[in-house]
Symmetry: D2
Subunit: 341 residues, 4 copies
């Protein structure tokens, strides 16, 4: 593919599932960008889709991308434990950065990486894609449009269709950092407020192996927000009917809430009642479009030199909330965020 004039030139680090999602959007659907190169230790496993997308410059060494002189911005889509290092390297190389969440499971590493990026003056967007989901964005807009009035309550429901293997659970950082991090971000996004304190309840109800791995699979977390509102998040590692992703916000002027996206609107009515379809199965189906909108927002920020909609601190703050939730679960009390900061 010929080089496009004025294109923002992107290098993608990590050619796994999420790397593919981003690369495909960048090549086919995002205007004004081109994917110059990719890197992954196992880049040969991605040959088929790299061919399909016409991406010919391929490396096993990420440094080749991070220091590529034709690359304006990098997408960090590698495994979580490498995010922070690549973020630092990219910032030092003066590249703009789109970084998948979480930046790291260790808060000090995250703080350091954000500091480096800040000093380097590069643009950094964190991959909280759900903010760009059509349903949640509509709720945010309803709040901005004063349809809900003063916020009193935020409710987030988040259930996965199936639990991860216990092996994964062991290194995941725990349900709050690994899974609820998205929902904690959602509360910050919808409320536009920081959180003061957290209280958590949890149980092992889905899979005993998760408990043996030292984690829980079902949790309810209550959050006291700086703006006075209360938020409550309920999550489960397994809903047999598929990915359950809903929010409800309530305030002085009313309520806004979302339903799950369904594959089709069909309703079949028979002697057993009326049946509608199950929700879309998992995040690739449900949030497919949000990844596109997310990248479009990143590219727009780069092009216009503006602050992107999800910045570095958005990658850090939910970690404190997750840490406070964990502490609350252990100590059976309300934990102030200041205690874990």
């Amino acid at each position: 593919m010929a080089e496009k004039k004025d294109s923002i030139r992107i290098g993608v680090i990590g050619t796994g599932r999420i790397g593919y999602v981003h690369a495909k959007n960048l090549v086919q659907r995002v205007q004004g960008v081109e994917v110059v190169c990719v890197a992954d230790p196992y880049v040969d496993r991605a040959t088929e889709w790299l061919d399909e997308l016409g991406i010919t410059e391929r490396y096993t060494d990420p440094a080749k991308v991070l220091n590529h002189d034709k690359v304006d911005a990098v997408y960090i889509c590698s495994s979580t434990d490498t995010h922070a290092d690549f973020l630092v390297d990219a910032a030092k190389a003066g590249k703009h950065i789109f970084c998948e969440k979480p930046i790291d499971l260790d808060v000090e590493k995250v703080k350091n990486a954000l500091e480096v990026a800040k000093k380097a003056g590069v643009t950094l967007q964190i991959g909280f894609n759900r903010r760009f989901d059509h349903n949640f964005a509509a709720v945010k807009q309803a709040i901005l449009d004063k349809k809900v009035g003063d916020l009193h309550m935020i409710k987030v429901t988040s259930r996965d269709p199936e639990p991860p293997p216990a092996e994964y659970v062991k290194v995941s950082g725990g349900i709050f950092l690994d899974m609820m991090i998205h929902d904690l971000d959602m509360v910050r996004f919808l409320s536009g407020s920081e959180v003061k304190a957290v209280s958590a309840a949890g149980a092992v109800l889905v899979d005993p192996a998760i408990g043996e791995a030292g984690d829980i699979d079902t949790a309810v977390v209550t959050l006291w927000l700086e703006n006075g509102a209360i938020a409550v998040i309920d999550i489960s590692r397994k809903a047999v009917y598929g990915y359950d992703q809903r929010v409800e916000v309530f305030g002085s002027a009313g309520m806004a809430r979302t339903e799950n996206d369904l594959p089709a609107t069909i309703e079949i009515t028979g002697i057993e009642g009326s049946r509608k379809e199950k929700p879309l199965w998992f995040f690739l189906e449900r949030y497919n479009e949000s990844f596109l909108v997310e990248s479009e927002a990143f590219v727009k920020a780069l092009r216009e030199g503006t602050t992107p909609p999800v910045v570095g601190v958005d990658g850090l703050e939910p970690m404190y909330l997750a840490m406070a939730a964990k502490k609350s679960l252990e100590e059976k009390r309300v934990v102030e965020i200041s205690e874990v900061r």
Copy 2:
């Protein structure tokens, strides 16, 4: 109206709003009962509807009803502070008892009254009418039918259309005892389980006067159930769109949830989108039919000599939960129910 053979003969104490609701159902819609007499210090204020219902025997002194030799059962529909005393008197007089909730705001008085009733061997049903609501009863049935599988989570939303006056709030016993008591009962009803521990969050967001009266108007309470499930209740003293009464239960086999009842199913679609009606305004509209079903269940228990579906302990247990919630709010920690028992 001529005395019906084999009718269960009922005396109603309290001819205010809820007394009227019960008397009307008993006279017009419940099979096999008759209302023999009523008593209320202000019984003359009820002349119109007593005439309408053909109830001619009217007293200002409750003792006349409690000791009436033609009365088999009494409905205690008077002000809350009189419930426990009338319950005791009725039990001693050997009358079966339907008692509106709460039995009292003081747990010791409640325990004593239940003890007396137990010793007297009379049948006692407590007025948790929401258990008989078509929507919530359908959820209970879905659980019994194994549609939800093992229960993992129960969520109850309960919002009033408008807050009570601050004067009322002062003597109400607080939002947990006064308002959330129904929702606490709902959790026990749906789960069929007792509660181990409680954690509460609360705020004054609706009306500062409620805060000045020493109460809150917005709350989220998390409950650890004996059966392992987690429940969460969110309530508000004011939803501008009307009475918001919903539940959701989630478990290993799926989810069951209810929507509010609407006055009509109409949907109007125009340039602003599609509009449906607001929920029914308040409890008399929404729970109108539940009061009938509740009385039918009481009468059935009397006739068949069986245990009624809501017994004395159902009036006591939610009080402990409310007390634990209050304590949790004050002490910012998880409170075991055993601490307040």
Copy 3:
């Protein structure tokens, strides 16, 4: 029960199912009326509910009610073939009349009866109860409130849960007069317009016995309205999922439509998708409240001396439409209403 001052005194002719529905509402729920007496050749079959309602004056001879000096108004709830005669007798006796539909299957008898009632100057309301249904009344209100703008299209769906016996079909007057008459009235009610012409399609798809009885069980009728709009009605004698009663109106400003009423709002989501309940089974369940509102409207008209909301001509006009539909089905062409008038 003591006679109420200023009550409108009613006599009910016909103590079958619909007579019971009306009598019960009149005794228990309609303000300012009393049921003085009833008549039916088989009045002894109604002893139980007459006792229950405290109606003691009972006759086998309708003339006793029609000429009763304490009766202000009669409810004609007897078999269809007697409606017109009783209507004439009641009018001549100076009684106001609520008459169940249809007035008669013979249009000349209907015209004559209406003429007599008109000359007698009595108030006459025809029992098209669906106009008083909460859903359809809401659609009418939406039209009056200009939510739909100029009417372009009206769609009525009407499906019974089970077909009548073929024996009944033979004497029913046919599907258009027997079943669609309500939907034809609905078109006139919602549009506020008369109909110019009709085209019909029909088939025997539910039960061959209906075909052998000379009728059809499935039909679609298109109507050209005087106001320019087009209406289309589809009906079936059998929907396995229960009574299906919906309307949709469409116009220059938007659309209003209704869904069926369900027993509860519960939705159960599992591996098979999400399931809601079936519609209420049949007309007694679905239209229960509409019979009350209908009687309240009749009583209000009597009390205020105003024209009732469903007058004599409303009993006649749908008959012409039904007759035109039948003719259209036979002649496979559009039939002007003027052809059958």
Copy 4:
């Protein structure tokens, strides 16, 4: 872009709006194809998107594509009046053909073109994309899965968000051929049955200019199907709330129906009731994915040498139905399809 091995090579004739839709899908999303070249008299107007898609071989003369030796199949996306000629030329050149609907407004030209394609033995698919819409395909599947039982009734609602200019209306072939053709195809698709007879009603209610152009803008058509079922289609040139595309099928085992697709599932509840969003605005938004599925089906048929899901006769039969509808409107009677064949 390098030539892919084993790719099916496609030439696109017509680079207007629908040509772009197909080319984009073929380049980016359909597996195993490549777009070799395009032709359009105004191909220079498409430079931007042709660049974007990397399509470099561009002609003003369609013959260059039709006779291109590297082209296996052509997409005919030019103006309607050229479809039949290009179809004939492509068939004679031995190219497989995807042809947008309608093939022509003149039935003789269509018959001739289909004859030529048949003799040439090439694969031909007609662009009735709605068959591939997720909602309608789900209804078809429900029918195949016996969820509806024996079909009794099919109802199709089709309303455009805004009427075309009167100038277009004059050359459009009329509302039945131009707009309802899709809905007539939908009836054939869902029923799997041909149509015996048609009856039509119509009016000018949206725009008098459409009436002056000799057409109508609002119509209801009833169809008698060979399989005994009855279908009814209602269409309007203008729904202020956007594109309204719904179907309902009813039969011996139940009903299946679809709702419109909405931009988001958000529901906002306030003092005015609950509001959901308007449907997606028009066909490019609503049917976007259906164009992809349609092309995938065509490519699959080519690759497997099977009959495509929409064949030549599917382009012809709805024309007869549209012609019969027009005749019925004029003659105010039921018209047998055999009369216009």
